[in-house]
């Protein structure tokens, strides 16, 4: 059978291209358009070039928000990844216990973001919230509306509660795919539990962990609803992350030009970090093969 080459087949992607243009490319270009102009109304606009970008990059409030955002994302990753692996390791593998634990672990993932925020908002209240009340009864003056430390810890706790299950589930499915023979061989080789984890389980988890870390980084970097409902970004601006800064600027103050510029910077940061992370992982694996040759 001879293969037919016909470049007219490219036309077949046209419908998809139109759809993507309508839903993604045109809106994105609109943002680009706003970011380089000062638009007053439908007829009055000035070209501003890179002015908005410079302004945004030099804005101390936004710089602080970026740092806060990185601190938050890295903290939750540092907690959720090891914790998720740990949970996956102790989850039962067979029988009805496995099903029940699986359901319980999955539960937090099914709750919408703003509902999570509301749950924790009530949970941490000093008067009627179980956690807030208990801590106060124990003598600790817990108050997320007054203490930035309390607010931070609570938000991190909330994110860990909400998203560790994702890492745990990914790892669990990966762990289940390890054949019994590996564990049996390890027993016969008299491997310690730590060796079994380090040499058998962890290598099998690498692939899902790359996905897990990427997802969690992107998610946490874009966090909005939960802290917004829980602390409103306060006290002060101590828990105001990037999304919230952006929303305040775009919706609250109607500063469309600067917020468009800021959106693009935000988008590029995520793209950059993800790319760096992905490239680093891929290079690690490549080095491995190169070292062979």
């Amino acid at each position: 059978m001879s293969k037919v080459y016909n470049n007219r087949a490219w036309w077949l992607i046209l419908p998809m291209l139109l759809l993507v243009a309508f839903s993604a490319i045109i809106p994105l270009m609109t943002v680009v358009n706003y970011s380089v102009q000062d638009v007053f109304d439908a007829n009055t606009r000035f070209f501003t070039g890179t002015e908005w970008f410079k302004e945004m990059l030099n804005d101390p409030a936004l710089q602080a928000a970026v740092l806060r955002q990185f601190a938050f994302s890295l903290t939750v990753l540092a907690i959720e990844v090891p914790l998720g692996i740990g949970i996956a390791l102790i989850m039962p593998r067979k029988g009805w216990q496995a099903s029940i634990v699986l359901i319980l672990v999955t539960m937090p993932l099914l709750i919408p973001w703003n509902v999570v925020g509301s749950i924790w908002q009530i949970f941490t209240r000093g008067d009627i919230g179980l956690m807030g009340w208990s801590l106060r009864e124990l003598g600790y003056g817990y108050n997320i509306t007054a203490s930035p430390v309390d607010a931070w810890i609570t938000i991190i706790l909330m994110d860990v509660w909400h998203w560790t299950p994702l890492i745990a589930l990914l790892c669990y499915s990966s762990l289940r795919s390890i054949p019994d023979a590996y564990y049996q061989a390890a027993r016969i080789d008299r491997a310690s539990n730590w060796s079994v984890f380090y040499y058998i389980q962890l290598p099998k988890l690498t692939n899902v962990l790359v996905i897990g870390v990427l997802l969690r980084f992107m998610h946490s970097f874009m966090i909005y609803a939960e802290p917004f409902v829980l602390t409103g970004g306060g006290p002060g601006s101590s828990t105001t992350f990037l999304s919230q800064s952006l929303t305040t600027m775009a919706i609250g103050q109607q500063d469309l030009g600067p917020s468009a510029a800021f959106s693009l910077i935000y988008f590029l940061i995520i793209l950059l970090v993800t790319w760096v992370f992905y490239t680093a992982i891929m290079n690690m694996q490549k080095d491995d093969i190169k070292a062979e040759a």
Partner: protein
């Protein structure tokens, strides 16, 4: 070094076994002598892997005892048994190099590094892995990985037996042959007891001095490949060993004659007497296709059979025959005339086996 004894051993995966079918291993006694090369041969699901896992300690038997050198080890975990096991699919520690893989069992028991090096180099040499020592195990081919798995079993000084659970399943045919020879070599060099589980009779007979044939949770015969071929102890061994398997004819004694259906068989008197005296109704005569004499012309004592078809397999042919209403296979060596249409068969007396309730009975010994 160890002699492995299985005493009244039985195992069931069901918590409350009632009928014999509930048992993966039905009560058995067996001895694996120190330094032997054994094969455990049987079809899938006959319980051979279960038996292997009981010996290595991955499973605890429901009943009976496993003894190593006279000591009951039933509840000892595998790590306390000085046994190595090679699995069907190669198990290597992906992130380690081949060297570290081989060194792993030694390092786990805190062997001095100089000794580790010495042993690893020795085993790598035997397994022909020296060139690969620095490579990561995950980048090896399937047969190299399996060699690493085997090497990890050999590297320990204290290993008294190595168990192989169909280790060549994932290996290419040409390499299979090489690895099998390698195993044989290793066995001769290290004098370790080796038990090799397989469902391939060729693999079993090239590797082992003695083969245990398992069927429905029992070892139905334990003998040399030759014994299994010439005197199968059970009809299953007859079917399973040899290609094609043994012919069996349902027989009964009527009016002083041995009949297979309506066909009278010419057999020696002792066989007739044994058939006539047997209380069981399940009586069979068995003869290997290789041992049937097939003649193109009528002869005295010859039984007339119809030839259904002949299959030419190069160096020999397989004839499919109908004798009375029993289908038989006969093997004709190259160069001998292949009759067509009809043939006259003779069963040499010493080649005919008598099977009562599926087990072999020596006529005159009852």
């Amino acid at each position: 070094m160890a002699e492995i004894v299985l005493k009244s051993l039985a195992h069931s995966y069901v918590s409350d076994p009632r009928v014999p079918e509930d048992y993966a291993i039905r009560e058995m006694d067996h001895i694996w002598h120190q330094g032997g090369a054994y094969a455990l041969l049987g079809p899938s699901g006959c319980g051979k892997s279960t038996l292997l896992n009981i010996i290595s300690g991955l499973l605890e038997p429901s009943r009976g005892d496993v003894l190593f050198d006279g000591e009951v080890v039933n509840s000892l975990p595998p790590e306390a048994r000085n046994i190595a096991q090679v699995f069907q699919f190669p198990v290597v520690y992906d992130t380690m190099t081949v060297y570290d893989n081989l060194a792993f069992p030694l390092r786990n028991v805190k062997t001095p590094e100089a000794r580790v090096h010495e042993r690893v180099m020795e085993v790598a040499d035997v397994m022909e892995l020296t060139a690969q020592l620095k490579r990561r195990a995950r980048n090896l081919t399937a047969d190299e990985k399996q060699k690493v798995s085997m090497g990890r079993g050999l590297v320990r000084d204290d290993v008294s037996a190595i168990l192989f659970d169909e280790p060549l399943t994932v290996i290419d045919p040409q390499l299979k042959w090489k690895l099998r020879r390698k195993l044989k070599e290793i066995h001769q060099r290290f004098e370790i007891t080796m038990v090799y589980v397989t469902h391939d009779q060729l693999e079993a007979s090239t590797f082992a001095d003695k083969i245990a044939v398992m069927y429905e949770g029992k070892i139905v015969q334990f003998g040399t490949p030759r014994e299994l071929f010439e005197k199968p102890n059970h009809t299953f061994v007859g079917y399973f060993i040899g290609s094609p398997g043994m012919n069996f004819l349902d027989v009964e004694a009527r009016e002083g004659r041995v009949m297979a259906g309506a066909m009278e068989l010419t057999v020696k008197q002792a066989v007739h007497d044994a058939v006539a005296n047997a209380r069981a109704t399940n009586i069979k005569l068995g003869i290997r296709p290789e041992f049937i004499e097939v003649l193109a012309d009528p002869v005295e004592d010859g039984m007339e059979a119809r030839i259904d078809y002949a299959q030419d397999l190069g160096t020999y042919s397989i004839l499919s025959l109908t004798l009375g209403n029993t289908v038989l296979k006969a093997r004709i060596e190259e160069g001998q005339p292949v009759p067509t249409g009809r043939a006259w068969l003779r069963f040499p007396d010493e080649r005919v086996g008598l099977y009562i309730d599926e087990y072999r009975v020596e006529p005159g010994h009852e």
